[in-house]
Symmetry: C2
Subunit: 359 residues, 2 copies
Amino acid sequence: MLHTNFTPGPSQLYFTVADHVRYAFKEGIPSISHRSKQFELISKEATEGLKQLLGIGGDHYILFASSATEIWERLIQNVVAEKSFHFVNGSFSKKFLEIARQLNRQSEAVEVKEGEAFSESQKISEDTELIAVTHNETSTGVSLPLDFIHAFREKYPEKLIAVDAVSSLPYPAFDYTKIDSVYFSVQKAFGLPAGLGVWIINKKCVDKAEAILDAGKSIGSYHTIPSLVSMAKKHQTPETPNVLGIYLLAKVVADFNRRGIDIIRKETEYKAAILYQSLTKHQLLQPFVKDKYLQSKTVIVADCGAYTEKLSRFLSEKGMTPGDGYGSFKKSQLRFANFPAHSKEQYELLADSLDAFHG
Amino acid sequence: MLHTNFTPGPSQLYFTVADHVRYAFKEGIPSISHRSKQFELISKEATEGLKQLLGIGGDHYILFASSATEIWERLIQNVVAEKSFHFVNGSFSKKFLEIARQLNRQSEAVEVKEGEAFSESQKISEDTELIAVTHNETSTGVSLPLDFIHAFREKYPEKLIAVDAVSSLPYPAFDYTKIDSVYFSVQKAFGLPAGLGVWIINKKCVDKAEAILDAGKSIGSYHTIPSLVSMAKKHQTPETPNVLGIYLLAKVVADFNRRGIDIIRKETEYKAAILYQSLTKHQLLQPFVKDKYLQSKTVIVADCGAYTEKLSRFLSEKGMTPGDGYGSFKKSQLRFANFPAHSKEQYELLADSLDAFHG
């Protein structure tokens, strides 16, 4: 029995991926040159398809890195000379802060307990260059409201705003005029094999990187923003990239566009609603995130307490693999990814199974 | 007609890759967690298989990066505080030097014309920390003799020695006790889809990275040597890696081990010999590298002058795609990869076709 994989990433593959891979091998795609016209067309298909899917205007660049972890590093190297400010509410937002400090930046942060909200009136130092916020904390299932993120632009018009959407895009309908950089990795909600990070930036990020470089500070080498952007204008990359990964992204994004982003968003909301309902009314389980306003639609975390292992086994016997709780919650929580690869039918079966679980 | 791809990279896929991919999808490999036991076993199979194939002793670490270009950057960040020395004889050795300078190191270099040898008595500054040498210049088809590389250890026992073997491994039989770091990318002689770099280092590199870090200098963040090594000890990686790429590497390395490294090396030499013979006796063509001692066995470059385009078309009509000449040689040379994916029969057909080409 091939299980439905509800772990938040690498997660369930989108159902078209195996066919796209078969076709890619038939056509010799994994062996084409990354300097060929054929590659440029694939790369263009991926980036233009993403702009259509996400509703991104023409003044943003879409760049390829090898992971979202790499993008954390490149962001700090390229747009932060001295200081970034990080909203930390879980393991992944914290890792980004740690990377900034490993790169010897004087970064600051506000940290709240897992599952809780940030204050709307959080003070950010005058000399902060970048505000880093995690739209969806994969470790806890807290999703920050879009209003909270979009409000930074008016409050801090001079600062750069970077949004980690690793485990939420394509679901959130960001206003890209209020964000300078957003990024994700393909093995989560795009249902693709791991090995590719997608980094969206605007002109303000390019200008900042060039200013830091002009001041004589290194911003890295092959994966600097100026280097990535100058190659992206030709639909190429500085190094030999994960060509097959970019091809598969182009194809799955085209599939998503055919299905329509509105339908994907509505289905995501429907699936989230039935799972939260099952958890809320359950005798033994409950949603970890109590505040409805913060409950993630794409990574749903269940407090299972003493029943964690038993529930995990119960679901596994029915062909469903839940994700373990993260870090200190490993023994007391289960996490459920709700991505386009997870069908309504699979989610209905999951919710019904939870209803039928009596410990 | 699916062509035999003789470009030096991305190159022809090894003939078992498509089957390994099919099996991987059947088993759900692209969706497994990079923190699972299953991934650790795959990663271990890849690194232990490589140690067996290449004859690497137990005191080296095998690390995964996303490309050889990334490894250039990580090498400089991690083991060069101030100064590296680069042997430059083509575009790729030059790119490594450029990366060192972009990282604000005071790097030095000796540069010789394409196709020519370095002096055995080259002076290297006392304060050089790393000697960087390219075993096989993919742009020109010059391969440095192993004796030249192995001699550094005795002359410079204190310095680190890094060897770019991007387009030669697994062919060269390096003495790994005389090299501190060697690296390659999988889309060349391993016949795999692009998107993975393999970085072999010894304890001396780890010690140097830790010393630089202890001195308060940043050595990067998630892909530092200490971070990569501490995860590699558990057969894991700091970030979500190209899991499918590592799986395919493990499988192809096992295929290579079953075939045997001696047979792979002998076949490489046989194929190189018949192609160089065709070029040498040809009326219109000749090997670009004249000095037999420097002629690469794995990337064979032909001077085709005015016949370049015509020969490329002639071969293409027979189902063979040669690589273009690199950079300024684009219109006057063709390059032929000689990797394990290229069979003796394909090479015999190539050599016969050259013999039959009369302009």
